[in-house]
């Protein structure tokens, strides 16, 4: 019930292409959905986040699409670049956990963008 399922596990995209990473959840009590980007040897860094009352959020080449009825959300990276090669994690926060801020993380997607 508190899991976030992320797919695919790995992804190879050509430079200039669109990278799409999907996440699905069961618990409708999640109320905040951040995405993190992690480069090798570094900690994850917040990339973009969305609330369930918004269907889409765009920041530069990165877009989150949120489908509340399907309980799915996805990250789209437009015009993918070799510098985007990293591991991406989706996450979700339970409503009512604001005092702890605990996040449930997906298992991660390793993206490789080929030049």
């Amino acid at each position: 019930q508190q899991q976030v399922k992320q797919s695919p596990q790995s992804l190879i995209v050509q430079k200039g292409g669109i990278s799409i990473i999907n996440c699905a959840y069961e618990n409708t009590a999640f109320d905040y959905f951040p995405w993190y980007q992690q480069f090798p040897g570094k900690g994850p860094a917040l990339l973009i986040a969305i609330r369930p009352d918004v269907s889409e959020k765009k920041e530069g080449r990165f877009t989150i699409s949120f489908n509340k009825s399907a309980k799915q959300f996805s990250l789209h990276i437009m015009d993918s670049q070799p510098g985007d090669s990293a591991t991406y994690f989706c996450a979700a926060k339970l409503h009512g956990s604001s005092n702890t801020g605990k996040l449930i993380f997906g298992q991660g997607t390793t993206l490789q963008v080929k030049p």
């Binding site: 993190y36 040897g41 917040l46 986040a49 994690f89 926060k93 702890t100 801020g101 298992q107 991660g108």
Partner: protein
């Protein structure tokens, strides 16, 4: 601005030896603090979190413990390391006082190898 420091960056320890990893946050007060472990090529496992000085919540039973002796200091410890304690340890902080959907911010981690 807020910053998070973790040290050491890498550590090689023999089985059975003690462990102390330190994390400090600057530029904020009363943050939520978190310790995660990331196995190679895997997701993020929440080990401990803290909402205040001396307040520690454990997420999984294990060979590790955590302490928060000061507001912005979080320590991960073990009395006797096991081979299975190897991994990438990440500390994270979150602003506890300025709204519901505050993201977590990660340090650059400690790579721990047990021999």
């Amino acid at each position: 601005s807020q910053t998070i420091h973790q040290w050491p960056a890498t550590l090689v320890q023999p089985v059975g030896s003690p462990l102390s990893l330190e994390c400090t946050v600057e530029g904020t007060s009363n943050p939520n603090l978190y310790w995660y472990r990331q196995a190679a090529g895997r997701g993020l496992q929440l080990l401990f979190y803290s909402v205040g000085i001396g307040q520690i919540s454990s997420e999984v039973p294990q060979n590790l413990s955590a302490s928060r002796p000061q507001d912005r200091q979080f320590i991960l410890s073990s009395k006797k390391l096991l081979l299975s304690d190897s991994g990438f340890y990440l500390c994270a902080w979150r602003d506890s006082g300025t709204g519901d959907n505050q993201p977590q911010h990660f340090g650059d981690g400690t790579r721990l190898s047990i021999l």
